[in-house]
Structure formats: structure tokens, C-alpha cells
Amino acid sequence: MSVLVYVNSNGEKFAKSAFEVVTYAKKIGDVTVITNGNAENSKLAQLGKFGASKVLVDRSFDGIDDQQIMRMIATAAEKVSANTIIFSDDLIGKAVAPRLSVKMKAGLVAGANGVPEADGTIPVNVFSGKAFGFVKVNTDKKIISLLPNSIQPEETGSDATVEEFAGNAGETRVTVKETKLPEGDIPLPEAELVVSGGRGLKGPENWALITDLAKELGAATACSRPVSDSDWRPHHEHVGQTGVAIRPNLYIAAGISGAIQHLAGVNGSKVIVVINTDEEAPFFKAADYGVVGDAFEVLPRLTEAVKKFKASN
């Protein structure tokens, strides 16, 4: 079966999600990758290690316009007779996959969290991570967008062949005025480690407690809804039912009580550590490790302990 995978190849390195989607597609069929922009052939060929046999690259545009990318993918799907198209369920996938679904008359399974089951249904997160659903696609062609951190990238092959490709992407109707990419920040949805703070930290002036630990761990930072509502932290750091849902390997929550809406956004985490003064905080019920104590004392100790651990390992 021919499977086509869209990968964003902009930037210095691939996001981990690029390796995840290629690994995922390899479990379904023979993988061709489609991408656009100016990435070097040697970089694109790396995707072969994760299972791509061929990488098609359209050099005629380097943006992330949803219509141009959609047209390019549709052209590529026809060329390789793909009946399954795979995206990462990231901000590009969320814009492009629905358009492609209409264009190709292909059912879209958004937010898949694993490979198709034996009965062909595809597992997805629903109710903001409070439950799972199993989706059957009723059309011949299907599109799947895979939640970041849902499967481990697997290196199985060697370099892929890279081919230049004319995707007939056409014009964009959206003009980019400015792009702001804060340096050094790890994008939250893809982060494997996350340190998060809540109202218990009392004010934005105390956030070094969170960022110091995050820096030591190489983690992304997040926060609860009251914190972003009070503008202590930017909106995009808000995790929970009305913020972003994340599924890192490790989620450390300090000064967050664990309301059901917050848990919805983080209960896909592999391991949860909760630090709270209130031993009755509901979050402890969802935690793997708990520390009943004052975040103001515990966080600096934890940061020191991580520093010590790194020095000796």
C-alpha cells in the first residue's frame, strides 16, 4: 500500500514529530515523504532511516501556507497513487489536513494516538484527553493526523532517495508580515519533559522557580488556566481543556491543584509529578510521584538535585 507523509523540513533540524510520522506510516505501507522548501538533500535523505523509501521536495516555495501545501500534497498523492496520507497533528497539520480531506474526498482522522487496530479502526483522543475513541473511515482514501509523542521513532533503514518535485502549489492569498520564534523555547506540544506552575506560585515574579528547573532538565514550561488568565504567563503555555493538550514523558506540576479541566490536558503524560502543600489536592490522585510540600522550597531543591544528577551521569 502506498502511503504519503507530509513533513515540514524548514529549520535547522527536523522536529521529532517528523520522525514519528514516518515511523508511523512505515507500519501501514510503503512510505513516500512530500515536503517543500530549501532543506539540503542530505538532511531530507535522513528520513529514510525511519522508513521512507523516497522523499519528494518542491523547491518552488518555502512557506507554510495551508492552500499551497494542500495542493502540493494532492499532486503528490496522485503521482504515487497514495490512498493514505499522514500528517503530524501540529499547527500545520491542523490547517492543511482538513482542506486536503475535502479536496481528495478522504475521511480525516484527527488526533490519532496509535497505529490502526486489528479491525481497521484508528485510536484517537476525545473529550480533551479524558477518553479514547476508535474511528472507522468510510471513504476509500483516508487521512490521519498523529498526535505528537504518540509513538517512538524507530530507525530501521538507510538514506532515502530525494527527488525534486513540481507540486503545482499555486499562489498564496495570505501575506506573512512577521514571524516571531522565541529563541531557546521548546514548543510545548512536542516537548518530552514539561515543568508547569499554577496559582500556588503566587505571582509572575516567582517564575524563575519553574524556568530554572526547566532549563536544568531541558524541559518546556507550561502553566494552569488561572496563571495565563492573569497574564502571568503567555496564553500558549496554558495546558488544560481550554488550552493545549500535551502528552510528554514527564509532567512536573507545582502549585496546581489539579481541577478536572487541567487534568484533561495532561493525563496523556507518561509520568506525572505533583508538588503541592495541600495533601488533599485532587492532582495527587492522578500523579505517579507526589511531594507534599511548599513549591518555594521543593523546586530549588529539585533543581539542585537534577544538577547533581547531571554532573554524576
Binding site: 480525516l108 473529550f127 477518553a131 519533559l193 505517579d288 510521584y289 538535585a305
Partner: protein, 246 residues
């Protein structure tokens, strides 16, 4: 300026999720429905702000049964001028987008707003699908939007940051946090909403491209392991050797 805001209902955020009929159906017993927060707080209120600043009308559109009318009235109470309900049970994003596309084409709207996703299915699908049906530019996950004539300037989330973009009307925008502030309807709004037009139109029987076959709940967590707050070395050791996450 004709503004269309897509509204759907969603279970209240405090709802404990469970399933019935052999885990094939969401158990609605005792569930309180609200307007999907992204549709209400950001898309609808942004629509109202634009109308207040530039004139025009705000129409809501919902794909749903008579059970949806309470949440539609809530949107009217907050300030929408009129509402359209397409009379069919929404079961698939492709179906919903195709149904709304028919209405949007007929009404020739300048601006279509919707929330970035619903909090029950989290698909973030309808906006992009609608854009393709209507052949309009689509700005996804916008957190700021200003209008100058027919030119719209928006800040949208991109991977790892924010992008400022410009596009011309007509346009479809999915709205994320930051776009507007939640408005609580007042008594006058609630009274007025009862008399505002809520037009029920028949479905075009759009095809369902996907089906939810069954559901499952996550396995319950085992009991939390408590660590002495004075012994963070132990926690780090456990995260390394037991949990193997660092």
C-alpha cells in the same frame, strides 16, 4: 459586513465522561451542555466586537437537533442577531463542514468565525474543510485580529511562535485564546434572545466520512508514591531508574 459564527454544543468542562450501549455511545444522562467555549468566548465575542466597531450583522449557524436550542439561545443572549440551525445530528466533521458550507454559500458572508476546536472531539477540522468548500483563505488558531476596510491583520500560532499575517475578506478564521474576552449575557440580552429569529433549515444529507465505532476510558492510575520533600535526590533517582523518563 455579514459575519457568520459557527456554534456547537459541548459537555460542561466539569463533566465526568462515561459511555453506554457497550461503549459505543457517549452517556448523556445528567450531562449539562454549554456552548463550546472556543466558539463562545473567542469566535462569537470577536464577531460582536467587529460588528460593534464596523457595523453589520452576526448570524450563528449550528448543525444539530432541537436539543441544541438552549445553547443557541445563549449565543443570541450574548448578542448574535439571528441563528440558523441545520436540522441533523452532527456525527462527523466532514458532514458538519459540508452542511455549513451550503448555508455559508447562500448567505455570502464576508467573515466566517469558529473556535479552534470543540472540547469534546478536539478535531480542529471544520474550519479548514469549510475554507476548501468555499475556496476562501483560512487563518487557523488566530489570537488577535484587526480590520481595516477589507484587509484583515491577524496574529496566529505557528510551531514555536507567532506569525503576523494579512489577508483580504472574505475569510475564515479559527479563534484561539487571546482573541476576545468572555462576555456574560445580561437579563436584557436573555429576554431579547427569546424573540430573535432562530431559523431551522433542513439538512442536505451530507455524507459521513468517518464513524466512531467505540470508546474507551484511560486505565486508572495506581496510587501515588509520596516522596519526602527534603529528599529530592530520591525523586530524581526514581525518575531516572524506575520511571526512566530522565
Amino acid at each position: 459586513m455579514k459575519i457568520l459564527v459557527c456554534i456547537s454544543k459541548a459537555p460542561d468542562t466539569t463533566t465526568k465522561i462515561s459511555f453506554t450501549d457497550g461503549d459505543t455511545k457517549f452517556d448523556e444522562s445528567g450531562v449539562k451542555y454549554i456552548v463550546n467555549p472556543y466558539d463562545e468566548w473567542y469566535a462569537l465575542v470577536k464577531g460582536l466586537e467587529i460588528k460593534e466597531a464596523h457595523g453589520g450583522t452576526v448570524t450563528t449557524v449550528t448543525v444539530g437537533t432541537a436539543d441544541d436550542e438552549a445553547t443557541i439561545r445563549k449565543a443570541l443572549a450574548i448578542g448574535a442577531d439571528d441563528a440558523i440551525r441545520i436540522d441533523v445530528l452532527p456525527e462527523d466533521a466532514g458532514q458538519v463542514a459540508a452542511e455549513i458550507a451550503n448555508i455559508a454559500k447562500e448567505g455570502a458572508y464576508d467573515l466566517v468565525l469558529l473556535g479552534k476546536e470543540t472540547i469534546n472531539y478536539n478535531g480542529s477540522q471544520v474550519g479548514g474543510m469549510l475554507a476548501e468548500h468555499l475556496d476562501m483563505p483560512f487563518i487557523s488558531l488566530a489570537e488577535r485580529m484587526t480590520l481595516d476596510g477589507t484587509t484583515v491583520t491577524l496574529d496566529k500560532e505557528i510551531i514555536g511562535g507567532i506569525q503576523t499575517v494579512e489577508a483580504e475578506l472574505p475569510l475564515i478564521v479559527s479563534c484561539a485564546k487571546g482573541m476576545a474576552e468572555q462576555r456574560i449575557p445580561n437579563m436584557r440580552g436573555i429576554m431579547a434572545a427569546r424573540k430573535k429569529p432562530l431559523n431551522v433549515v433542513p439538512s442536505s444529507n451530507a455524507a459521513k466520512q468517518t464513524t466512531f465505532e467505540k470508546y474507551a476510558l484511560p486505565a486508572p492510575k495506581s496510587a501515588v508514591k509520596l516522596i519526602d520533600p527534603n529528599n529530592m535526590d530520591e525523586l530524581v533517582e526514581l525518575l531516572h531508574n524506575e520511571a526512566k523518563v530522565i
